[in-house]
Amino acid sequence: MLTYTIRRLLTAIPTLIFISLIIFLLLDMAPGDPTAQLPLTIPPEVREQIRQSLGLGEPVHIRYLLWLKQMMWSEPMYYLSQSTGWFDPPEAARLISWQTRAPVMDTIFERLPQTLKVVGLSYIVGVLIALPIGIISAYKQYSVFDQAGTFVSMIGFSIPPFFSGVLMIILFTVMMPNDSFFWFPSIYDTTLVVDSWENFGKQVRQMVLPVMVLALQTTAQISRFMRASMLDNLNQDYVRTARAKGMTESVVVLKHVLRNSMIPVITVIALGIPSIFGGAIITEQIFKVNGIGQFLIVSIQASDVPSVQTLTFIFAVLIVLFNLIADILYGVLDPRIRYD
C-alpha cells in the first residue's frame, strides 16, 4: 500500500508539471497588457521599464521556469517561514497580481474561508441528505419514495446552478415578505463578524440559499451512486447469510450492506470535492460571495494573468490531489483490492 501511495505521488508530479505548462502557455498568449490601465502620461521608456519589472522581458521558457519555482518553492517557503519563524523568508519577489498589486496568494488566503464555509458546508449537507435517500431508495426499490427520489435527482442533474440560484432568490428574497421567517438575503455579507448569537443567526441565514443551491447538485449525484451501490450489494449471498443467521433487518442493512456499499460512494465523494469548487464559481457569482471563484472571474475579466494562472493551477492541484486520495481510500477501505 505504501509503495503504491509513493508511486502515485511520484506520477502526480509530472502530471502537475504538464498541467502547469499548459496553463502557463495558454495564458501567455493573453492579449491583455498589464500597463494598459496606467495613465497615458507615462512615457514609453518608463512603461517599458514597468513591463520589465513585472518580468515580461524574458523569453517564454525562462519565465515558465521562474513561475514554476515561485509557485512550487518561494511561495510555500514564504508561508512556512511566516508561520514557524524557523528561517528568514526567501529573497525572491512574491507573485504579484497585476490588478490589485498585492501578492496573489495573500488574496487567495483572504478569500478561501468564504469559499470553504459555503462550499464545504453545502457539500456536507448534500452528502448527509443524499446518503439516507440512496439507502431508502435502494431498500424500497420501485416504491413511491424511490420514484420520487429518482425524479428529484434527475431535476438536480438538469437544473443548472445559475437557474436554481436565481429561482431561489426569486422565491425566498423577491416574492417572500420581508418580515417572514422564510425570507433569506440574496447577497452574502462577508464583513459580518460572528460575535453574538444574533450575528450567528444572520450568518446562518445568509448561507442558506447558496448552500441549498450547491447541496441540490451534490445530493442528486451522490444519492444515485448510493442507490446503485446498495442495489449491487443487497442481492449478494452474504446478505442472505446474514439474514439466515437471524440478524435483524436493521443490522443487515445498516451494518453489513451499508458498510460494503459505502466503499465506492466514499471515493465518489472524494472525487467530487474539486468539481464542487468549479461549481462554486457560478454560485459565488450569483450570491455575490467573494470567494476564490469570484476572484477568478474578476481576474479573468481584468486580464490579470498571474492571478488566473495561480488559481487555475490550484484547481488543478486539487483535482490531482483528490484523485489520489480517492484511489488510496479505495485501497484502504476495501481489503479485496491490492495494488501491489
Binding site: 443548472p160 445559475f162 429561482l167 468549479g278 457560478i282 450569483i286 477568478l296
Partner: protein, 308 residues
Amino acid sequence: MTDTVSTQSDDTRADAPARNQWWDVWDQFKTHKGAMFGAGFFIFVILGVYLGPYLWTIDPTYIDIRARNSGPTMAHPFGTDQLGRDMLARMMAGGQTSISVGLTAMALALLLGTLVGVLAGYFKRIDGLLMRTTDLFLALPLLPLLLVMVMLFRQPLSASFGPETGIFILIVTAIGVTSWMPTARIVRGDVLALKEREFVLAARSIGTRPGKMILRHILPNVMSPIMVSATLGIATAIITESALSFLGLGFPPDFPTWGRLLFDATDFMQQHPERVMWPGLAISLTVLSVNYMGDGLRDALDPRIRGL
C-alpha cells in the same frame, strides 16, 4: 438460393419482415415513458426554435421602446424586455444558438472521443500514450480553462470570422476539446473487449486491413455507448454554453442565447421575475428531456434488459 430455401422451410418467423437491431432498440425505447416524453419534448423544442421564427415573424432585435417591460399580452405572449424586444422571438433566436452549440459541440466531442477511444483500444502501441493524455485532460480544471480560453481567443476569432461565427466556433471548439474524455474511455474499454471476439479474429484471418476492420466491424458494435454519451453530451454542452454566457463570457450581448437571456434578466429580477423563468425553464426542461432520453436509450441499447 440455398438461403431462401432454408429460411422458408424451417424458420417459422420467415413471414415477418426483416428487422435489424435498431427496430428492437426502438421497441424497447418506446416502453420507457420518461424517454418517450423527453424525446417528444426535445423534438418540440427543436421544431419550435428552428421553425418557430417562420410563424412568429417579429424580429428578435426589433426595438419597440413604447412596449418595453410589458408582461405577457396577446401581442407579446412572453412579454418584452427592457428595450421592448419581443421575448418569444428572442427565446427562439436564443434557442437556435444554444441548441446549435449543444449539437455541434457534442458532435465534435464524440468525434474526438471515438477517434481516441478506437485508436487506443485497437492499436496497442499508442494505447498508453493516448490514455495518459486522456487522464491528463481529466485532471484539468475545465470551467476555469474554458473561461480562460474564451477570454483569450474571443478578440482574434471575432476579428477574423465576424463576432457571431467567431464566438460560435470558439465556444464549440472549447466545449468539444474539454468534454471528449469520458467517451474515449468508454469506447476504448468496449473496443478492447471486442478485439478478443471470434468475429474479429475471423475477419482478420481473411486479411481485413485495420482501417476496414475498424469501420466495418468495430465501429458498428460500439455505437450503443457512443449514442448514450451523445445524449449526455448535448445536455452538458447546453449547460456549459449557458454557464459561459451567464458569466458574461459567452456570446455578445446583442446576440441572444438562453444563458445570455437569463443573465440579462437577473438585473430585472425584482420587477419582472417572469423574464428569468422563460430561459431558465427552457434550459432546464431541454436538459431534463435529453437526460431522460439518454436514460431510455441506455436501457434500450442494453441487450440484457431488452426484450424482457
